[in-house]
């Protein structure tokens, strides 16, 4: 798959990092402002997809990329379920409880285990959307040879 014109490449070099940071901001403030894991993960995936579309896939090893994103997604989901199961042993002993100390409302570090869930779900959604996109690109490349 070929890349796009020079203007698109220059603008992508300037903006992709900002989009990535914006996605991280939305994930981290998920318990204070709207957003959270899903929306932030989709924005992070958007940053990577923008780079792949603008620069083309000739310099990427696509099989290794899709293996990397697939492994990232699986590890992130396993961490989420592991956090939920750890609640069985700590705290009140019920699945999915909030067992870390909750700070004052409105601080960044508060609300127990919810920011951790947001982070791992964000990584998982980004990995999933990237895996879908890369699988479609690989399919197109293989069948157009």
């Amino acid at each position: 798959m070929e890349g796009m014109s020079t203007i698109v490449k220059k603008v992508t070099q300037l903006i992709a990092g900002l989009i990535f940071m914006y996605g991280i901001y939305i994930i981290l403030h998920g318990h204070l402002t709207p957003g959270g894991g899903f929306a932030g993960g989709a924005i992070i995936a958007g940053a990577f997809i923008l780079q792949i579309l603008a620069f083309g896939t000739s310099s990427l090893n696509l099989k290794k990329e899709v293996a990397g994103t697939s492994n990232t997604e699986s590890i992130a989901i396993l961490m989420v379920v592991l956090l939920a199961i750890m609640a069985l042993f700590l705290g009140a002993g019920v699945f999915f409880t909030n067992y870390l100390p909750k700070g004052t409302a409105g601080e960044l570090v508060s609300a127990g285990v919810i920011p951790l869930y947001n982070i791992f779900i964000g990584i998982e959604v980004a990995g999933a959307i990237l895996t879908i996109f890369l699988a479609l690109v690989i399919f197109k490349e293989e069948s157009s040879k």
Partner: protein
Amino acid sequence: MIVYILCFVLFLVGLYGVITRRNLIKIAISLSIMEFSIFLILVLIGYVDNGVAPIVDPNMTGQVYVDPLPQAMVLTAIVIGLATTAMLMAIAIRLYRKYNTFDIREIKNLRG
């Protein structure tokens, strides 16, 4: 009242697309349009008169918030809709490789 009728009209537009379009991709997009109209109805159900967005500010008390539960439902349903659309698109691409056309009038191997 009129917003609900408009959402229902959007649902009917999507349904019309699923029934009459011949291109596989257009059927998938029409299914997405139907899903989005249902999400709009769900969010509109939770509206409270003179309510603001449900973000709790510890300084202001006695605020009337809109209902946040349908918003949580719609967030989850959007992700489910994403998975459904991705699945449909993957199958549509593979069908194009096998039959060399997106037209559903050509793809009728199974009868009876």
